[in-house]
Each structure stands twice: as C-alpha cells, then as structure tokens.
Amino acid sequence: MKTVATRTAALVAALLAWAAFTAVNARVGFVNPVLLPTPAEVGRVTLDLLRSGELARHFFTSLVRIAEGFGLAALAALGLGLLVSLCVPLRLMVEPVIEFVRPIPPLAFLPMFLVWFGLGEASKVAFIGYTTFFPMFIAVAASVLRVDVVLLRAAASLGASRADLVRRVILPAALPGIIVALRLGIGLALFVIVGAEFMGADAGLGNLIMEGRVFFNPAQIVMGALVLGLLGSLINTLLLAAERRLLGARVAS
C-alpha cells in the first residue's frame, strides 16, 4: 500500500498544492502573504541559513541534545527495565509508582528542569532524558515480561541454569520488543526537543522556530518545522533498516 513511490508522489503533490495555494494567495491576498510563505521563500531562508552555517549549528545542537538525552535514558531504561523484570518483588514495588507518574505529561516538568539545572545544556539533556526514560523503561520491562514461558521450559529441560536462561533465552526473546522501545524513545525525543528549545535556549531548531515567531519570519518557522520533519523521517528510516537487519531472519519470510 504505502510504497516509496506512492509516498513520494503524495509528497510531491503536497508540495505542488502548497506552491499553488500560496501563489494564489500572494496574488489575491485572502491572508497577509507574509503569513503564508511560498515554498520559494522557505527555500530562500533555508539557503541563507545554510550558507551562513547557522542552520548547521542549530541542527547539530538539537541533534547532540537528543543523542545525549536519549542515550542516557536508553542505557538506564535497559538496565533498570531488565532488573525490574527479573526481580518480582522489585517490579511489584515499582509498578504502582510508575502508574502514578506516567499520566503526568513530561512537558509539565520542563520548567522544573529549568529551575533545577538552569538555562544551559544540562537542563535540555536532562529533560530529554526524563521524557524518554519512562516510556522506554516500561516498554523494555513489558517485552521481557512477555517472554513465553514455554521457551523457558524448553531451555530448562535442555539443561539451562538461571544465568543461561537470562543470557540465552530471555534477552534474545525480548530483543524485538527492546528495539521497539528504543524507537519509541527516539520518536518521543524528537517530539519534545522542540518544546524544550522554545524556552531558555539560545540555539537549536526549536530556538530557530521561536525566533521566527519573535522576528515575524514565518518562512523560518516553516523551514524549522520541515527540517525537523526531515530529521525525524531520516532517523526513523535508519532505525527501521537497522531493525530489519538485526531481526530480519526471525520474521516469517
């Protein structure tokens, strides 16, 4: 259904629609043409920022923040997720607390992180870490807990010790779920980085977008949004490819 060809065709169609709509508006003026930037205008802003090196600077700032925050959270989620799933009393203690914290939107804690860590890099990285940790932790634990008991039985009757069970059955069996958890985390990181950079940041794509608002430059806003979308698509594609390589053989051909 959603082949690469169909999707590209859809995107091209969307681009054309956008160009057409904004061109008509520029002529007729339903809305102040500044508010509806044409693709050409967006392109121009992009080139300007690329040439000055600004775009690269903001892009990599955001990327580094995501990488650091997500990286820390992923390690913690893997370690603690495994630990909690292997120790029943610990899990029973931790579960209710997670249930309590989970419904609170992570962005509600953003000001808290600014208070705790100030306006610098640390607060952004810590916030991304916090936001991505809980969902990944929950997903990792869930995929470990889901390991079919019949696989454990099979291994045990082949002579597996407890260590064998963990290393040779539980971990490989949970791996697909763990990878899904990581994908979830990175998706979430991309989702909130913008928000985190709206406030108290002097660099980053989110900051770039906010600047577009402050200096009344909607073309910059659109550019920032599109770059983010592109980054997200890129990361997603890479992850899906990696996932297919790691797990490809397992799925029915």
Partner: protein, 257 residues
C-alpha cells in the same frame, strides 16, 4: 540389567488456586514406567494429563506425592528428561542448527562434536537440507521434527511429549507418528506421551493409560500386544481401538454433563 522402574509416580496430586478456591486437577496417580517403555497418557480434555507430564518434567511441583527417576526425586527440570511441546517452543532467533545444538552448547561441548551431533539428529529426522533455516521458514511438521531432534541431541534417557502432533493436520500427523515409531526403534528412549487421539496411542504405545475426567485419576491401563511395526488397519489394532474408545467414552460423557 535395570533393577527398578525408570520413572516412579507415587501418589501425585495437584490442585490449582483459582480466585481463592482450590481446584483439583489431578487426584492421586500411581504409575511406574519401565526403561525403554513407551507409555501414552490418554484422556478427555482437561483431565490433568498435561499437568501430570509437567510435574514429571519438573515444571510444576505436585501438591502431594513424589516423582522419582532412577530412584532420585524430581525437583525441577533437568536434561535427563527432554521435553517436546505442542507449540514446538523453538527459539526463533536461532537456526535449525542453533536450536538442535542448544543443549550441547550449554554443556560446553566442542564445536566439532556439536556439528556431528547436529548432523546425526537432523539426518534422523530427515531435515539435513534445512539446517541453516530459521523456524519462521518451516512448516509445522518440520518445526516439530526439529523439536524432536533438539530433544534427542541432548541425549536424555527420558522424553516427555505433550500432544506434540496436536497442532498438525491429519496427514502430517500420521507421517510424524511413523517417524517417531521409527526413531524409537533406533534410539530406545523411555517415552511418556500425552495425547487425546486413541488411534495415535494404540499406534505408538507399549501401554495406554486411560485417565478419568477432572480430577484426573488412572481409570484403566491397556498393555498393547502388537508388533513393533504396526498396521493401523489390522484387526488386532482396531480391536484395541474400540476397546479403549468404549472406556474413554464413559469419561467424555461425564465431562459434558
């Protein structure tokens, strides 16, 4: 040679806690299985035959009674008791080879020896050509053959099989019964086999143990005096089938009351 029975099931019973109440699945069962014997546990659904097998395998502890193997009490799973499951339980992240050599790998056998073992047992089940495939690429019958090879490769004295052919179509099922019969003539393991197919039981077993409906107890034991290679249409065979069917039907009627 062998002094006592290989498996001794003495007074084994098991109840399960279902929302606060204790539901008996297995009432007192006493059974001895001799070495190299092929015993089938037969009975209506839910009669506890799988529970009994799980207890012998060491996956569940009995509520009362003991199971002894070679005189030693069973208190957990062990490689001496290999298991073949109805759901195959193959490790999806390993190839056929990886699965079959799982037991020897755990025991740290050297690679050359493992290769030989895998080759021998894949030949035995006729899957040598599929050695590098993953379980997802195999049919149900092939998966079960890999599962059997995997259990055998660990050289257990006992094999426990829980309705291993239940998920397969009739044709594949009969083929695998033939294969199992042939393998047993070569390997001579002690086998405890759970099924609800009377035909299957008469085809494979030295003795057929018919169990009552829940809570399961031994209703009657039928020694099967037929040649090693059996003909499903011989009069002797069908006689056993009808005798056992009559006994089983009494129990099935009770389940539907």
């Amino acid at each position: 040679m062998m002094a006592g029975p290989k498996i001794q099931i003495q007074g084994v019973a098991r109840s399960f806690d279902v929302s606060g109440r204790s539901m008996p699945a297995l009432a007192e069962v006493d059974l001895d299985v001799a070495e190299r014997e092929f015993v089938c546990l037969l009975g209506p659904s839910g009669c506890g035959k799988s529970t009994l097998l799980n207890i012998v395998a060491g996956f569940l502890a009995p509520s009362s009674g003991t199971v002894r193997v070679d005189g030693h009490a069973v208190n957990g799973p062990a490689p001496e008791r290999g298991v073949v499951f109805q759901e195959y339980a193959l490790f999806p992240w390993l190839t056929v080879t990886g699965n079959v050599e799982f037991g020897p790998t755990l025991r740290g056998r050297p690679a050359a020896e493992r290769r030989q073992t895998v080759a021998r047992y894949l030949d035995l089940v006729g899957l040598r050509a599929h050695a590098e495939k993953y379980p997802a690429q195999l049919s149900g019958g092939m998966k079960q053959r890999v599962a059997i090879a995997r259990a055998l490769a660990n050289d257990p004295a006992i094999i426990l099989m829980d309705e291993p052919f239940g998920a397969l179509d009739a044709q594949t099922r009969e083929t695998l019964q033939d294969e199992l019969s042939r393998i047993q003539r070569v390997e001579h393991k002690t086998i405890l086999f759970v099924t609800h197919s009377i035909r299957e039981a008469v085809y494979l077993a030295d003795r057929v143990v018919v169990m009552t409906s829940v809570p399961g107890r031994i209703k009657q034991i039928f020694p099967i005096k037929l040649p090693e290679v059996r003909d499903r249409f011989a009069p002797g065979f069908t006689q056993y089938e009808s005798d056992i069917t009559r006994v089983v039907k009494e129990e099935v009627a009770k389940v539907h009351e």
